[in-house]
């Protein structure tokens, strides 16, 4: 048997490069373990095992024996072991394919908790209600994910159980009643009882994760993404850790740089005495990492070191999920972190300067939307600003307008050509028309993922959500002792999350020199190829007059495209509304019509081909400083009038 590689690998023995066997998530855990970071003990059932399972639709006994042995070894050194009544070790079971495969629900937590091991968890945590809640969570996930029961069925049985209790019944009693109801529902609906043996729970959970590889949705995704059906998924079984044991415990999410501004600082949320799911649930007021430093200074220092290690390993800003158990730090997951458009540019520029990444990588990481945001007008830093209120920076940008407190009023004012700032207590679908009419929005309630924030970002609208103390009346708003009436001027800083008094003047932004350096790299690349330069006669000659239509307005672009003209030259210098012309030109299918842009105001003109894809957006963005710069800067040696060598090559390419 020695020649057969083991189907089950302990995390400590896993090689991060062995991605095809241990999967992406497994490789990420192995990377962290390899960096010496404190990762909870885990083992990985490899994709070999999955393929074996897929071939026979069963788990051979000797394979199962390997898993049993691995789970028995997980608790070594912790004083807990799987299935032990006194010190039960609970595990999570999750899938992890070698390539990124969506499937957020393929996780079962708290496996190993039974009515026999539950008292051990009570003793360990000192929290009977938590132990029963954990059991309910296992029952629910097991019922839905392993037995495939519809979620509302279990929700209905939970409601029924709770309805039978007195409103003042303690939490532990409620959870106990819910657990009994969920157990009964699972048995009634799936025809088999919930397993009261920890090993049986584990076996069914592992089989469910393996089977999920063959789910119709997963198959469809693989077909779509061109992923081999034989790849298989790894199964990760990992010890659960507890952030709710005492006040030196807690859970959090940290970013190695601020994901909103891009600033180089460890940034994140922390909730003392809580499990990870509490941090993201929105049910609790989550604190900052300062709370973490106060609760567990050593663990916080450990997190800072871990952050630095991870940035080096990933070469990118990372987000890190962590739990602290009685002052001991556990790093649960790390990956390249999500960030706003502005942060994206700043992080790329700073990491380039730090030498952490090269120019190509930095350029790959920035998108037009980030650049457009960065080039958008900002409040004049010299102008006095009076902050009326603060909230969550839900959608960046600076907006100035007159106040409206209803969608209807916002629409009326906008119809008169007035810039409007809409204030709402919270947002419902009937506010959308008002959003579309407004320059910026603020709400009294709601966070970064609230509907209002999603809608505002969808419209590229500056928004401040959850403004503390904001009262929205019929025709005015109150912020502290200040009242602003409808029709009066007000300003919003969507990036800083501030509501400002009056009309704060807007100016073009001054770009940070590191961002300038990054843009200089950008301008060095031939992303906007210069076709040629020359006079008007030259343009007629050189640019194949047969198929070329020179357009000075959006309407002309429209009719040229409709008439089937293969090439359009947009003359930005003539016509009344060059931005509208360009914007319409950017919408043309580049496969059908080649769009050229005459950049300079006079002849001889620089003519560039409008880039296809999202980069067209940046060129067409009205008033964009970057658009002007990107269009105007030469990226290649220019050819003189009459010489069309460059242009001809470009066209052939």
């Amino acid at each position: 048997m020695d020649s057969v590689p083991s189907r089950v690998v302990a995390l400590a023995d896993a090689d991060p490069r062995d991605r095809s066997r241990i999967g992406g998530k497994g490789a990420s855990l192995a990377t962290m373990a390899g960096l010496g970071l404190p990762v909870p003990p885990a083992f990985i059932a490899t994709t070999d095992l999955c393929r074996e399972f897929l071939a026979s639709s069963a788990l051979p006994e000797e394979t199962w024996a390997e898993i049993e042995a691995a789970v028995a070894g997980l608790g070594a050194g912790t004083g807990r072991s799987f299935g032990d009544a006194e010190g039960p070790l609970l595990v999570s079971v999750r899938s992890g394919a070698p390539v990124s495969m969506p499937g957020m629900m393929d996780t079962i937590l708290n496996v190993g908790l039974t009515e026999r091991t539950l008292p051990g968890l009570v003793a360990l945590t000192g929290d009977e209600a938590f132990a029963w809640d954990s059991y309910c969570r296992l029952l629910k996930m097991f019922g839905e994910t392993v037995r495939g029961l519809p979620s509302p069925l279990l929700a209905a049985s939970r409601r029924e159980a709770e309805a039978g209790l007195a409103p003042e019944a303690p939490r532990a009693e409620r959870a106990r009643a819910v657990a009994a109801a969920l157990g009964a529902a699972i048995e009634a609906e799936s025809g088999r009882p919930f397993p009261h043996s920890p090993l049986e729970q584990l076996r069914e959970s592992v089989l469910a994760v393996l089977s999920s590889w063959e789910a119709p949705r997963a198959k469809r995704y693989r077909r779509h993404a061109g992923i081999d059906d034989d790849l298989g998924t790894a199964v990760i079984v990992q010890a659960m850790v507890f952030g709710n044991l005492d006040q030196r415990s807690g859970s959090g999410v940290a970013f190695t740089r601020d994901p909103t501004s891009g600033e180089r600082t460890l940034y994140g949320d922390f909730l003392a005495g809580a499990q990870g799911e509490d941090v993201v649930s929105g049910e609790f007021d989550v604190g900052s990492l300062a709370d973490f430093r106060a609760a567990a200074p050593d663990a916080c220092a450990g997190l800072e070191r871990a952050g630095a290690e991870l940035e080096r390993a990933y070469g990118d800003m990372c987000d890190i999920e962590f739990t602290v158990e009685r002052g001991h730090l556990w790093v649960l997951q790390a990956r390249a972190g999500q960030r706003t458009g502005i942060a994206e540019v700043r992080i790329a520029a700073e990491m380039l300067e730090e030498g952490a990444i090269d120019a190509d990588t930095a350029l790959d990481r920035i998108s037009p939307s980030g650049l457009i945001r960065l080039a958008a007008p900002v409040f004049d830093p010299e102008a006095p600003r009076r902050v009326l209120g603060r909230g969550i920076a839900a959608s960046p940008g600076a907006a100035v307008g007159v106040l409206a407190t209803s969608a209807r009023r916002a629409e009326e004012l906008a119809a008169e050509g007035t810039a409007v700032i809409l204030a709402r207590p919270e947002t419902s679908p009937d506010d959308i028309a008002g959003f579309i009419a407004a320059e910026g929005v603020m709400t009294a309630r709601g966070g970064r993922a609230s509907h209002a924030a999603v809608v505002a970002r969808g419209l590229n609208l500056p928004a401040v959500c959850g403004v503390a103390g904001l009262e929205v009346g019929e025709e005015e708003i109150r912020l502290g002792d200040v009242t602003v009436r409808e029709g009066e001027a007000i300003s919003l800083d969507g990036a800083g999350g501030e509501v400002l008094a009056g009309s704060v003047p807007l100016v073009a932004p001054r770009l940070d020199q590191r961002v300038e350096a990054l843009l200089a790299e950008f301008e060095r690349r031939p992303r906007l190829p210069l076709l040629a330069e020359g006079g008007a006669e030259w343009a007629n000659r050189a640019l194949d007059p047969e198929g070329l239509t020179i357009c000075a307005s959006a309407a002309e672009v429209e009719s040229a495209a409709a008439a089937g003209s293969p090439r359009v030259l947009v003359d930005l210098a003539s016509g009344n509304d060059p931005q509208a012309t360009l914007k319409r030109a950017a919408e043309i299918d580049p496969g059908r019509v080649e769009v050229l842009v005459k950049v300079t105001t006079e002849w001889p003109a620089a003519v560039r081909r409008l880039p296809a894809g999202p980069w067209a957006g940046i060129v067409a963005e009205p008033g964009s400083v970057l658009a002007a710069r990107l269009l105007a800067t030469s990226s290649q040696p220019t050819s003189k009038e009459g010489e069309k060598a460059d242009g001809a090559e470009e066209e052939g390419a």
């Binding site: 519809p150 929700a155 949705r217 993404a225 706003t340 969808g458």
Partner: protein, 189 residues
């Protein structure tokens, strides 16, 4: 005859202002039924035409009040099924909104986004089917999700979060509002 009266009234309560075609989409009723319902509601002065370029309708103050009374009256007749469905909906609410946020920040690949949206739609479909046993109109949201997903599948990414289209987020947002109105809850609860 099955009247679309209440559905049209309810659709206008959720959307604020809507044209006849939109009302057809949100109620699942035929063009004729929507038009007939609007005629009846207008005669009762519960709805009025909005002074817009494109013909659109909105509730009158009396219409808003009538809607409040009618939905409260329906609430009596066993909304337990809707309540359990709402529990399931709420579990998906954060993942769904986070997913739309990620796509807005271009932080997710197209194929992955589509699969995650399909997974959420499938799960919310279970909840909607359950709610539809009590309030059949919840079934219409399932159709609207499928339509938005089909558009995204054809490569039209605007159908993820564009507020001016019947995008995945628009349907989600209105479905959320419908649960709140049906159960008599506020957004905070």
């Amino acid at each position: 005859m099955a009247s679309a009266d209440f559905e049209v009234l309810h659709g206008l309560r959720i959307k604020g202002m809507a044209g006849e075609r939109e009302l057809g989409t949100v109620t699942g009723a035929s063009e004729e039924d929507v038009a007939a319902a609007l005629r009846q509601l207008a005669a009762a002065e519960l709805v009025q035409q909005a002074p817009m370029e494109e013909p659109a309708w909105l509730l009158t103050p009396a219409g808003l009040e009538a809607h409040g009374e009618r939905i409260a009256a329906r609430r009596g007749e066993g909304s337990d099924g809707v309540a359990a469905a709402y529990d399931s909906f709420l579990e998906l609410n954060d993942p769904a909104k986070r997913l739309v946020s990620r796509s807005q920040q271009a932080a997710i690949e197209e194929a992955e986004l589509l699969m995650e949206l399909e997974e959420i739609a499938e799960r919310v479909g279970e909840a909607l089917a359950y709610a539809a046993r009590t309030e059949p109109r919840f079934g219409v949201y399932g159709v609207r999700f499928d339509t938005a997903l089909a558009k995204i599948g054809e490569g039209d990414a605007r159908y993820v979060g564009d507020p001016s289209l019947d995008s995945f987020h628009t349907v989600w947002f209105e479905c959320h509002e419908d649960f709140l109105l049906t159960l008599g809850l506020s957004r905070e609860e």
